[in-house]
Amino acid sequence: MKTWTRREFGGLTGAAMLTALTPRKVLGQSKARVVVIGGGAGGATVARYLAAGNSGVDVTLVEPKRRYITCFFSNLYLAGLRSIESLSHGYETLAQRHGITVIHEKAAAIDPVAKTVGLESGAKLPYDRLVLAPGIAFKFGGIDGYNEAAAQVMPHAWNAGPQSELLRRQLESMEDGGVFVLVVPPDPFRCPPAPYERASLIAYYFKQFKPKSKILILDAKDSFKAQDLFEDAWARHYPGMIEWLPAQFTGGVMGVDVKARSVLTAGDTFKAAVANVIPAQTAGELARQAGLADKSGWCPVDPVTFESTLQPGIHLVGDAIIGGDMPKSAFSANSQAKACAFAIAAALTGSEHFAPHLFNSCYTFFAPDDAFSNAINFKPVAGKLKAVDTFLSKLDESPEIRRRAAHQAVGWYAAFTNDLFG
């Protein structure tokens, strides 16, 4: 991230440069080793900032996939507004430019006593500090009949990639006049505004190509954030197209009939042309397997260092943690990851650690030229992450402000993914 300036170079003598080059080798010490498991927004950021921020740390990133497809902006893909390639990022720059060892394998087990990570191949990676950024896993079983096989017919598309492509194909082959049923899970889940953004952007697609089609949202909740903004936008852009049914109205989603492609609530059966069923969520499997999650299914951490409160020496960032007021979002994960990287650098090399600033911001699209933004800063208070200042777009904002937000969102995507993978 940092590039060299002439002024700073002039201030260094030859001796200082040589010492700076390999301080630990000069002192006869080996480098401290950090293993990061998970190459999404949280994991990639920890790896990058640890590698860039401290030459005394040897960073290994373990991620089975060779390309990461971002969940953020994948609703634009579903609406036909972005290609899947434009959401796909490789790990080459992290390896080549930042000197991170990237291993494309699945981590199978953690031994916190021996301080090793076992890979599926049987290899063991020793670590001084371990970071887990495992993201979410799905709680199949909450909806009767919905499991991994059912997700091949009624996709969740809540991990971007093949699931998103499946849903897009179904939308494309759907006949005009069909009903798209979107099942929204109970809190907490990844990216709280995303189901409603998805409904908005799929409505945008229908409006152009399948204008007789309808969207039915079956929610596990009775309200959602920024509801007034969404309802206003739906009335303006897609009048009569989107219907939202809260749990208090339907009694909640009980099951699915995969063969009939219908969704069953307490009192009704809703036949879908395309069904998008987003199940309830929990912390990624490895975190739960390693005893890092509590009874809630999510992982408690120290809000300053992001070290597990259940297992010392292991840090967690991103969707898997109990983030207090911080929502489960890529932006939150990136923000937590920077705080975590500087805390680990301080612990391993004695570098200074300053009070972290934690932040979340997001752009949400109603239509390609109509987006809103929100921004929240957070502070650790009594062991929990608390929202301090919260700002959200106003209902009466001008179309120009919304259009500008949509433009900024595209710039944000480029800068943000560069911060993760560039």
């Binding site: 991230m1 940092k2 590039t3 060299w4 300036t5 002024r7 700073e8 170079f9 260094l12 030859g14 440069m17 700076a20 080059l21 900032y49 590698a51 860039a52 921020g53 401290n54 030459s55 932006f331 990136n334 923000s335 920077k338 500087f342 650098a345 301080a346 570098s351 200074e352 650690h353 300053f354 972290p356 600033h357 932040f359 911001s361 933004s373 929100n374 921004a375 929240i376 800063n377 502070k379 301090v388 200042d389 919260t390 700002f391 959200l392 777009s393 500008r404 433009h407 900024q408 969102a409 595209v410 710039g411 944000w412 480029a414 800068a415 943000f416 560069n418 911060d419």
Partner: protein, 104 residues
């Protein structure tokens, strides 16, 4: 020939020095400015969000203070600026002003 060797040696040292010093930067300015990189590109160019590296230090301070006071309407920057103390603003501005944009 001798001259050429000396030059390439020097070039090598410059490169080595650059990597080592860049790698060791955990100053307050570097840690706080890390959050800017979540939205602001370092390569310049208009992507809807302006590049901020290499700008004049005093201009950066004035801009953040204006965002804090809501004199410039942008709620993302307002929330960021509200979280900074005066000392933190100074340290971010000093750090950003000393950076060069990455080549495109």
């Amino acid at each position: 020939m001798k001259m050429k060797t000396a030059i390439s040696l020097l070039a090598g040292l410059v490169l080595v020095g650059s990597q080592a010093a860049a790698a060791a930067d955990t100053s307050q300015g570097a840690q706080l400015s890390a959050m800017c990189a979540s939205c602001h590109g370092l390569s310049g160019g208009d992507t809807g969000i302006p590049a901020i590296v290499g700008l004049d230090e005093q201009k950066i301070i004035a801009a953040i203070i204006a965002y804090r006071a809501s004199e410039r309407p942008n709620h993302i920057m307002h929330a960021i600026a509200l979280s900074f103390s005066n000392e933190e603003i100074a340290s971010v501005a000093r750090y950003l002003a000393a950076q060069k944009t990455e080549p495109q």
